[in-house]
Amino acid sequence: MNMGLEFLARVRKTSAWLGGVLALMAATYVSPLLGVAFAAGGVWSLCNLQLLEKLVVSMMGPVRSTPQGIRGAGLALMGMLLLLAAGAVLLTLLSPMALLLGFLLPLAVIVLKAASQLLLGSRLWGGIVNHRFRAAFAAVAIAAVTWFALGALTSATAENHPAASHAGDSAASAGAGAHAADPHAEPAAEGEHAAPGGEHSEGGGHGFTNVVALIAGAGHGTAWSAFLEHYEILVFSLLVAALMLLVAFLASRNPKMIPSGLQNLVETLVEGLQDFIVGILGPKHGPRFLPFLGTLFLYILAMNLFGLIPFMHSATANLNVTVALALTVFVYVQFIGFKELGPLGWADHMLGSPRDLTGWLLAPLMLPIHMLGELAKPISLSCRLFGNIFGEDMLLVAFASLGIAMLPFQQVPFGVPMQAIFYPLVLLGGFLQAMVFTVLSTIYILLMLPHEHHDEHGHEEAAHHAH
């Protein structure tokens, strides 16, 4: 009994992971609705298995014919009825084929797991695996057979009904330009995507599909969908802000002297940021500007990395967002200059702090140089962040479409996830750009503060270089 339950638990885990990956692939390469249907079918089937297991345990296990066992059985039966109702609703809403496939997934996992247990114990398997060349040969043979079988299978289905099968699925979402990967790589769907591609091309190329565009496409023609389509970036940046608020709230809701869990993580982050910023600005000014600069860093980092979540989008891959961030920094820095130096001090700073005759003679030259320098700061900040994040997004899109195009049989509705090799680079780049933005903002603030001669020459050096 115990052995069987453990087997079921392992089946659940495997099916959950496998189903998640497969559903994501279906949603990315075929159509999002199909992925949702597949995931729903898998979840339904897993719930069903769980309830069945509960029913069997409470009827046959050690608690049978006790009130607890009877109650468990009743609950399981009620759950199954509810599940049946939910299944009926799902069948009317989503594609039945994908639902069925999702439903079959845990069963397939059970069969394969059982078969592999049989196979692993058998003598034939041992004979193949224990010999190095025989194992390699077997692996190559399996790969070759799969390759040609896939090719034959897909070309056969393509001859029978050429691409009609997924034309229907993608028609539902075609309004949003729903194919996540580059539509030009899929000749079957190219006609549908000519129009939405044209709408989206204002920023140059078009990237991965995201949730907001999908929702907007579902309610095509209504007022709110037009709003969503137009303010997609705003929705994502506000979503990130809301998530950060949630995390901050959850971490500080119940503060303890000895932190654990989320509070621990957030405290580590905040302390690291504090050390970093106080190290640049010094102990006097550092803590004052920590809230602004730390928020800037975390917000930009979260927005940069948000695009890596499937069906999400980096808000910083849009010039509007980065210009807004850079303008915030610009206005704040000028405000600090006014507040700390006073209007006269600020003018003195802009004139290049003339103290002797040469200084005063050079002042008319220094004024426009300083003005231009101040104005160039937000431009360079915003363009750097936008260019990096947008460039990384485009890189991922290019390699995703390459992954689709590299499969020789074009009717296969999936591609090799070639973009995965760039995920480490994108992670690093997102972190680095958030850090660069924050460090440069910190140094702009440092330059505006009244200069004191303390012994931190390294930072002064860095500040002068950044100017």
């Binding site: 260019g387 390294g458 050096e461 270089h465």
Partner: protein, 76 residues
């Protein structure tokens, strides 16, 4: 040569030329920073900070070319 062909030829070339420049710059920055760290390992944090800032400034030039390409791409 009409404008479209000129743009289609010039935009990628422009990025390439910009990338050569900032690539050389980044190499020099990295070289300097690595030598400095090798000479004075205890100053690693400060050197790295300055290196990242200057690297960002050098790299920005290519990014400007990249942004320009995307701004002009619609005109091809």
């Amino acid at each position: 040569m009409d404008m479209h062909a000129a743009l289609a030829l010039g935009l990628p070339l422009g990025i390439g030329v910009a990338a050569i420049g900032s690539g050389i710059g980044l190499g020099l920055i990295g070289q300097g920073a690595m030598q400095a760290i090798g000479r004075q390992p205890e100053a690693t944090a400060k050197i790295q900070l300055a290196m990242i800032i200057i690297a960002a400034l050098a790299e920005a030039l290519t990014i400007y070319a990249f942004v320009t390409m995307f701004l002009l791409q619609g005109k091809i």
